[in-house]
């Protein structure tokens, strides 16, 4: 006789969170007809992949929607550059809300984030374009070039993200974040870190920007792996939006860093 009297009497929990089958790439669900109430005996049958689970197709399509919204916003920001600052702040708030408050609501917040960040990128791109002619299209080409080439490397297995890889990228991004924060605080006192200035064409400054672009690019690989693993394990449908959102955040960051790097190179 088992000491698990509750299991003997009531059977195991039917909570789907406890019966999620990660190996099948979908959720394993149980219908009440499969329960034998008398003995508590339960059989499970894996149900064909539900339409409520995350797929690669869905995540890529949603990234396309976010990119389209971002380009629409950029057209607005390009024509009304005064909106860039408020849009940047609003985008930052929306990103924080999506990440920390409600990943399940990413379907609502991510399109707004893409639109608003597009407005910010449009304004910033115009500012750089006024300094260096043709720099925006170069940055766009390089950003998408890096996206596609890293996707090829990831899909083919040339770059394999591991725990150590994630640790390395995380540590690097943490260091960059601290550098930006120090520069931000220093700017209140009328100074700043000159290495971060887009018009500083020294080798040291270009090297720093190159390093930052590398870390931003490598975090794209982590995003690809997240989406791949999410689709494989059958996460809920809203995670498609979350995956597309995380890809957008990295792309926005990568684009801004490439703009800065190109400006530094052109300043020499």
């Amino acid at each position: 006789m088992s000491k698990h009297s509750a299991i003997n009497r009531f059977g195991r929990s039917r909570n789907p969170a406890f019966s999620r089958n990660f190996d099948q790439g979908g959720f394993r669900t149980q219908s009440s007809s499969e329960m034998n109430a008398g003995s508590g005996f339960r059989t499970t049958s894996s149900v064909a992949e539900s339409s409520d689970v995350m797929t690669l197709d869905g995540a890529v399509n949603k990234t396309g929607i976010l990119l389209a919204l971002c380009f629409t916003g950029a057209a607005v920001g390009w024509n009304i550059p005064a909106l860039a600052w408020p849009a940047g702040i609003l985008g930052f708030i929306l990103a924080l809300v999506t990440i920390f408050r409600s990943p399940s609501k990413a379907g609502t917040t991510a399109p707004f984030y893409a639109l608003v960040q597009g407005v910010m990128l449009g304004g910033v791109s115009l500012m750089y374009e006024n300094l260096f002619d043709g720099i925006a299209i170069q940055a766009i080409g390089l950003t998408f070039g890096i996206l596609a080439s890293l996707l090829v490397c990831y899909k083919s297995g040339l770059i394999k993200p591991t725990e150590n890889f994630r640790l390395m990228v995380g540590a690097g991004i943490g260091g960059i974040f601290i550098l930006y924060m120090v520069s931000f605080v220093m700017s209140f006192f009328g100074s700043g870190i000159s290495l971060l200035s887009p018009t500083n064409g020294s080798l040291m400054s270009i090297g720093l920007s190159l390093g930052i672009v590398c870390f931003a690019s490598l975090s794209l690989v982590l995003d690809f792996d997240y989406i791949e693993e999410g689709a494989e394990k059958g996460l809920p449908k809203y995670m498609e939006w979350y995956g597309a959102f995380s890809l957008m955040v990295t792309l926005v960051w990568l684009y801004l860093e490439i703009l800065r790097l190109l400006a530094k190179i052109r300043s020499r």
């Binding site: 006789m1 088992s2 000491k3 698990h4 299991i7 990660f22 690669l56 197709d57 995540a59 890529v60 990234t63 396309g64 990119l67 043709g134 299209i137 170069q138 766009i140 080409g141 390089l142 950003t143 998408f144 070039g145 996206l147 596609a148 080439s149 996707l151 090829v152 990831y154 899909k155 083919s156 297995g157 394999k160 993200p161 591991t162 725990e163 890889f165 994630r166 982590l222 792996d225 997240y226 791949e228 693993e229 494989e232 394990k233 996460l235």
Partner: protein
Amino acid sequence: MSNALIFGSMAAISLFVFFNLGKIKASKNQINRNNRINRFRESNQQNIIENDHKEEKKDED
């Protein structure tokens, strides 16, 4: 003009690659490896269930 043409076409080709390749599953040597990032802690859940099952078996013996 040539600048816009080169980088514009680079962006277009890259987006085409992304939208096509992104929908295809990664290669086997990417998926079937032991050192993948374990974001969703699946092994822990399996272990709990396995141990629970073993414990039950022991009791029955």
